[in-house]
Amino acid sequence: MSDLLQVDNLSKTFATGRGLPWNRRRVAAVDNVSLSVQRGRTLGLVGESGSGKSTLGRCILGLAKPDRGQISFDGVEVQALSGRALADFRRRVQPVFQDPYGSLDPRWPVGRSVRESLDCFRIGTPAERDRRVLDLFARVGLNPALADRLPTHLSGGQRQRVGIAAALASSPELIIADEPVSALDMSVQAQILNLFLDLQQDLGLALIFITHDLGVVKHVSDNVAVMFRGSIVETGDTERIMSHPRHLYTRTLLAAVPRPR
C-alpha cells in the first residue's frame, strides 16, 4: 500500500534569545524527522510540551515553513506547489485544533464558519452549500438548529464538533488533529473520539492525532510516533510500543501514567 503522506528528514528551527538576528541561537523544534501515514490509517504523535509535535503538524499543514526536508502528499512534493495545486492540497489536508474558538469568528454564527470552507474551495453551487452545511452538522452529531448560534453560546464539545465539521467540509483525505480532545470533559471526550472513529470508518480518512494523552493515543492509533526534544525517538505499531517500549524515554513516559496503587 502506498503512503498518503511521506515526511523525510524534516527540520524546523526557531531563533531564541536576545541580540541581533544573526547572533541569536537557533533551537531545533523539529530535528530531522521522518514519518509516513497510509490512507485510512491513524498515526498517533505523542510527546510532552515542547517536544515539537505541534510544530511538526504545522509544517505538514503548510502553516510553518520547514528549514530542511521533504513532505510529499499522494506522491507529489508539497513545498513546490503553488496556485491551484496548492489550493487542492489544502482542500485535501485539513486541521482540527484543541480550541476551535481560535479558528471560529466570534461574531459569526457557527454555520457560516463551516460554510466559508465550502465557499473558499468553491464546492457545489451556492444554493447547495446551505444544505451541505446542515448535512455536515448532522454528520458530526450536532443539532442543525445550532448553526445560527454564535460560538460563545456553544459548549466546548459542540464547538469541537463545529471545528470537525469545518474540517470535513472540503472532503479531505488527511486530517491533522492537534490535541482535539484535551480541553474536553471525559464524557464529551468519549463522544468526540467515537466521532473520529466513525468518520474514519465511513470516509476512509487518514488521521494524524497529536496528543500528550497516552490513553487517547492507545485507543485511536494504528501506529505511534513518540517525540522527545524535536526527534522521533521511537515509532511502530501501537500495541507493540505500549507493551514493549524500546526507548528509555517511551518507558519513562509510560511509567508516569497514573495507575492504581
Binding site: 459569526w108 452545511v133 445560527d148 448560534r149 470533559d185 468519549a190 487517547v216 485507543h219 497514573p258 492504581p260
Partner: protein
C-alpha cells in the same frame, strides 16, 4: 478517627443578574474527611467540585449564598469574619490551584513569597523565615534551593512553580491541604513527580488532603477515598479501589467506562447516557436562551 473537615448538608447558590436564584452549584453535600487521609473529589466541569472547595476557604464571590455547615477541626467556618478567615487561610488550611503562576507574584523572589507566608502567621525574624523557606524549598525537591531563593517565578518551569506553591502552602504546617486540579496543567512525567511529592508530604507531616480533580488516573494513584460529584450532588463515596472497581451509581459507571485508557483499541467507547451527559443538559437550555441569528448566516 476524627474529622478534620466536615460538610453538613452544604448547598451553594448564586444570584443571577436578574435577581432570580440559579440552580444550586452545590446541592446538599454531606461528607467527613478523616485526619491523615487523601480524599479525592472527582467530577466533570460544572459538577460543583471547585465551588465546594472554595466554600471551605471563604473564596466564593459575594453573589454566592452558602447554607449548611462546614467545619474545620470542629470549628464552623461559615460566617467567620475576615480576620478569622485570614488566620485560618495559609495556616490551618492551605490551598493550591491548577495554575501555580496565578498564586505567585511575578515580580517577587519566590523565596520571599514563601517567607511571607510564615511571617504572616507567626512571630519570626526575617532571617529565620528565610532559612525556613530554603528548607521548605529543599523539602519539595527544588535543587540548590539557597541559590534559587531570589529567582522570580518565570525562572522556574511549570512543575517547579507548582513545587514553590506547595512549599508555601506547607510553610505553616497546615492540618488540611486543599488541592484543586494541582497537576492538570503539567506534563505526565512532571505530574507523576508532583503526585509523589504530595503523597510523601502526607506521610511525613500527616497532612490531610482534599484533592479536586477530573482525572480518574490521578485519583486511583493517590487517594484513599473518593467522592463522585455531578450536578452539585455528591453521588457516591467509597474507598478508591472499591469505588473504581464496583461503582454503584449509573453516572459513575458510565464515566469510568468512557475512559479510553481502559478500552479496547479502535472500539467505540460507551457514552454517558443523555440524562447524565454534561452536553445534552446544556443543549436544551442553549437553544432556549441564546439568540438565533437566522439569516445572518447567508450575508
Amino acid at each position: 478517627m476524627s474529622a478534620v473537615l466536615s460538610f453538613g448538608n452544604v448547598s451553594v447558590g448564586f444570584a443571577t443578574p436578574n435577581g432570580a436564584p440559579s440552580a444550586p452549584a452545590v446541592n446538599g453535600v454531606s461528607l467527613e474527611v478523616t485526619r491523615g487521609e487523601i480524599f479525592g473529589i472527582i467530577g466533570e466541569s460544572g459538577s460543583g467540585k471547585s465551588t465546594l472547595a472554595n466554600a471551605v476557604m471563604g473564596l466564593l464571590p459575594g453573589s454566592a449564598a452558602v447554607t449548611g455547615s462546614i467545619r474545620v477541626n470542629g470549628r464552623a467556618v461559615l460566617g467567620l469574619g475576615d480576620d478569622d478567615l485570614r488566620g485560618m487561610r495559609g495556616n490551618e488550611v492551605a490551598m493550591i490551584f491548577q495554575d501555580a503562576s496565578a498564586s505567585l507574584d511575578p515580580t517577587w523572589p519566590v523565596g520571599d513569597q514563601i517567607a511571607e507566608t510564615l511571617r504572616a502567621h507567626r512571630e519570626i525574624s526575617r532571617r529565620d523565615a528565610q532559612a525556613r523557606a530554603i528548607a521548605l524549598m529543599t523539602e519539595v525537591g527544588i535543587a540548590d534551593a539557597a541559590s534559587r531563593y531570589s529567582d522570580v517565578p518565570h525562572r522556574f518551569s511549570g512543575g517547579m512553580r507548582q513545587r514553590v506553591v506547595i512549599a508555601a502552602a506547607l510553610a505553616n504546617d497546615p492540618q488540611l491541604l486543599i488541592a484543586d486540579e494541582p497537576t492538570s496543567a503539567l506534563d505526565v512525567t512532571i505530574q507523576a513527580q508532583v503526585l509523589q511529592l504530595i503523597d510523601a508530604l502526607r506521610r511525613r507531616h500527616g497532612t490531610t488532603v482534599l484533592l479536586i480533580t477530573h482525572d480518574v488516573g490521578v485519583v486511583s494513584q493517590l487517594c484513599d477515598r473518593v467522592g463522585v460529584m455531578y450536578g452539585g450532588k455528591l453521588l457516591e463515596v467509597g474507598a478508591t479501589r472499591n469505588l473504581l472497581a464496583r461503582p454503584t451509581h449509573p453516572y459513575t459507571r458510565a464515566l469510568l467506562a468512557a475512559n479510553p485508557a481502559d478500552a479496547r483499541r479502535g472500539t467505540r467507547l460507551p457514552v454517558v447516557p443523555a440524562e447524565w451527559s454534561v452536553e445534552s443538559l446544556r443543549e436544551a437550555e442553549l437553544l432556549r436562551d441564546s439568540p438565533s441569528l437566522a439569516g445572518a448566516a447567508n450575508e
